[in-house]
Symmetry: C2
């Protein structure tokens, strides 16, 4: 997919995500930087609603999948997430996720061999001052579209 | 607040939640039942997006607060949540949360004495066939608006 199409797919492919007006700031194999704007996601006390923070922590899963893995052979599932809210989020919020080429190759090799491979990462959500407002631990699974032998 | 105003506050008070078209099905002190509709929250593979399931698991925190605690003296914070996605959510999804009067009194007493009180609960998200599609453990904190002695 063309990089601009990829960006559009991540920002708007899921209507729920599109309504948050989340933006992909940078995207390359093994790396994504995304931003959740405060204004459309403000809660009743003027900070970012927890569900928007969760969404910002979750969407890199799809972004890294699309930029890094072979989308013709695999699809990703989210298995679980633990999120801790540390400070009120009072600005736009940014997340960055990196997955090394070695780690990505290992995950794809395992999914090729076994039909699926679990992987996980931790991420930090930061405000405009660089303060960490939330941290998450994300658990995903890469699955073969057509498992070996099927 | 009048029960209909309460229902409106929970469904529409946070624009992010309003956009999901989540519904309060039942609400009384210590009890809430809510429903997240599939259609506005569908993902690219036709199941409910993880962020909508998170939101359905989280909103009872505000609903139980408004129906159960003294909103003139206290406000709630979400401290964290762990959510596990067990099955694809292919229908509207329902959650129920109960907090006993004894437990609610204990939490309010502690917040009255210490200015804050942590509390938590587990919940199950169920599809139209009664299947559990996700489970969550939610951690909240009740805080005094004006702490004792302030």
């Amino acid at each position: 997919m063309h990089p601009m199409d990829l960006k559009f797919a991540i920002e708007k492919g899921i209507p729920f995500a599109g309504r948050t007006e989340v933006k992909v700031l940078e995207l390359e194999p093994g790396y994504v930087k995304m931003m959740m704007p405060l204004e459309p996601n403000i809660n009743h006390v003027g900070t970012m609603y927890a569900g928007a923070l969760f969404t910002l922590a979750e969407l890199p899963g799809g972004a890294i999948f699309l930029s890094t893995f072979d989308a013709s052979k695999f699809f990703p599932l989210i298995k679980g997430m633990e999120i801790k809210f540390l400070k009120p989020a009072t600005t736009d919020i940014v997340v960055e996720v990196r997955l090394s080429p070695e780690e990505a190759a290992k995950i794809q090799d395992e999914a090729n061999t076994h039909g699926k491979a679990d992987y996980d990462w931790d991420c930090e959500l930061k405000d405009a001052n660089g303060q960490v407002v939330a941290v998450s631990s994300n658990r995903y699974q890469l699955r073969q579209t057509k498992p070996t032998g099927a």
